[in-house]
């Protein structure tokens, strides 16, 4: 009743919506970098939207399904294959026992999510399945997946009636995700408490210039390369709580955007914040890609998030109905 890691990828971790309520102890939430993809993958297989998923960068893990499974991939298209059969993203797919899922090439996006129906049987830490790499806790033994790790599935359903001789077979519906993401650029931001400290030229540069995601980017933060931004005058700041999406100004004038494994506090000027609705789009940009920022108001940011969450809720309900209908056709549950 499990999935075996035949070959680990660059960084494959178990993630969910993250752990809340412990940031006063310095324990950051972690969680999926792209919460839309987590939500979509889970919805497609009929899970609660924040069930634990496998988050994978490229190169991604090769996974052996030791038993039947209903899975869905979402987020980046990393050219998933079972033998010579492509496995699409944003569609539920049934896997036969002993099928091996491989990711062959980065087609689009940066991070792929795999959800399995009924979820993975991993232990929660402080109320979340997310892997906390620094604490070495949560997810699968608090670390990235390694060769021969065995991830138990909570429940296995024999899908042989539908699969017949197929190694993998798509179910006949999908989710169109395009309008859930911003089309690439610009990434929308709201002003931070230190925005006013920038000199006038730098304020203009923040929204006019192109910034490149450097290779020194990871789950903690995206370091950007762009024009060096200058403050009107030097300031010494007291460290304070920061959040995912906070854009900090480093002493060399470059920017860092805090991502899922961000520290809970920071002492650099907080210039701006990537709106929550656009954080998944940002997470799916690849290193060396360029981005632009567009300033909007906090009210607009909140409205965009609200509409995005409503849409995800509708999609989840639609998926649920579709799946229940299909399962009953085959006398499954």
């Amino acid at each position: 009743m499990s999935i075996r890691v035949l070959q680990p990828g660059l960084l494959d971790t178990i993630q969910d919506a993250g752990r809340t309520g412990y940031q006063h102890l310095g324990i950051n939430p972690a969680g999926a970098m792209d919460r839309i993809a987590m939500y979509v993958a889970n919805s497609l297989v009929g899970n609660a939207p924040t069930e634990a998923v496998i988050e994978m960068h490229f190169p991604a893990a090769a996974l052996l399904f030791e038993d039947f499974a209903m899975i869905a991939l979402s987020g980046a298209d990393l050219g998933a294959m079972v033998n010579d059969q492509p496995v699409p993203v944003n569609k539920p797919v049934l896997m036969t026992r002993q099928a091996v899922l491989r990711f062959t090439r980065p087609v689009s996006g940066a991070i792929c999510y795999l959800a399995v129906r009924h979820g993975l049987d991993v232990a929660a830490w402080l109320g979340s399945y997310s892997t906390h790499l620094k604490a070495g806790a949560g997810g699968f033994e608090g670390r990235a997946l390694q060769r021969n790790d065995v991830l138990p599935m909570r429940q296995v359903t024999p899908y042989n009636k539908f699969l017949q001789q197929h190694l993998a077979r798509e179910l006949p519906w999908s989710i169109g995700v395009r309008d859930l993401y911003t089309t690439g650029n610009p990434i929308r931001i709201t002003t931070g408490s230190s925005f006013a400290l920038l000199n006038e030229h730098a304020r203009q540069q923040l929204t006019d210039a192109a910034f490149t995601i450097t290779q020194q980017s990871d789950r903690m933060g995206f370091r950007l390369q762009g024009p060096a931004l200058k403050l009107a005058e030097k300031t010494e700041m007291l460290s304070a709580g920061v959040t995912r999406g906070t854009i900090q100004l480093l002493p060399n004038g470059q920017l860092i955007i805090l991502m899922a494994d961000q520290q809970t506090t920071g002492g650099y000027p907080r210039l701006a914040h990537v709106i929550t609705a656009d954080q998944p789009t940002l997470a799916q940009l690849q290193t060396r890609q360029q981005l632009h920022f567009n300033l909007i108001t906090t009210t607009e940011a909140e409205d965009l998030l609200w509409h995005q969450e409503q849409r995800l809720q509708l999609l989840q309900n639609a998926c649920k109905l579709r799946l229940e209908e299909w399962l009953s056709q085959y006398g499954l549950h």
């Binding site: 006063h24 604490a135 304070a240 609200w306």
Partner: protein, 237 residues
């Protein structure tokens, strides 16, 4: 004392309450009053609270607030916070007094000899000055359970290392500027390491994984290398 504060959005899902920007116990007590008051309310739409030196970051679910109040959520929450902060003024924050054994032997505090040399004082003088004060845990950050404590004796204040170490041992006690802190986990780090505690300060297997809490009052007790080895690995409780 100046008790005025400001409330500013920190993105679309967090607000920051800021008091006078200084490192002082009176200002931090204001932070802790509001922190404990909001914790005690246990409001479902507040997802996290991050107290720091002179600020409290409040993370919230805008979606949950919008289900019960007219948008925008940040405006509604700001108004709520203004009245909550008045209530909080009556809170007496609980304060724990902790004693933490530290061995200042140069094998465990690789920067102590150099620091003494540069400041033209003895290693014993550093130990005396470091253990003479009771420190306030102003905030936890950087790593799970890492306490930012202050302030140290002016003589001990030292800038961070120019070249951070790739690995600092768990339990290492360091100084950065006017602050002193302890690495609960092994990690890269740039603080000047002057000693190490034998206590285990982070254990994910425990219900309370982190030993320190914001607002703790901490005193260091010097122990010998022999004592260090005897109690090394003991759970801090």
């Amino acid at each position: 004392m100046n008790t005025t504060f400001s409330i500013t959005p920190l993105g679309d899902s967090a607000l920051i309450i800021e008091w006078e920007q200084e490192i002082s116990l009176p200002v931090h007590t204001l932070v802790m009053q509001v922190f404990h008051y909001l914790q005690s309310l246990d409001l479902p739409y507040i997802t996290d609270l991050v107290p720091a030196y002179a600020s409290l970051t409040v993370l919230y679910s805008a979606a949950m607030i919008r289900q019960q109040a007219p948008p925008p959520a940040f405006q509604w929450l700001t108004e709520q916070l203004y009245s909550m902060l008045q209530q909080a003024a009556a809170v007496v924050p609980p304060v724990r007094r902790l004693q933490v054994p530290v061995c200042y032997h140069s094998s465990l505090g690789p920067d102590i000899t150099d620091m003494a040399h540069r400041k033209n004082i003895s290693v014993a003088d550093i130990v005396n000055r470091h253990t003479a004060r009771t420190y306030t845990v102003y905030m936890l950050g950087f790593l799970p359970g890492f306490p930012y404590m202050g302030k140290v004796d002016d003589v001990l204040a030292t800038p961070r290392l120019k070249q951070p170490r790739l690995q600092v041992a768990a339990g290492s006690v360091g100084i950065a500027g006017e602050q002193t802190g302890i690495y609960p986990l092994a990690s890269p780090g740039g603080w000047n390491i002057i000693g190490r505690t034998p206590l285990r300060l982070f254990n994910a297997a425990l219900d309370e994984s982190c030993y320190f809490r914001p607002g703790d009052q901490v005193q260091f007790m010097p122990v010998s290398l022999q004592e260090f080895n005897q109690i090394n690995g003991t759970e801090a409780r």
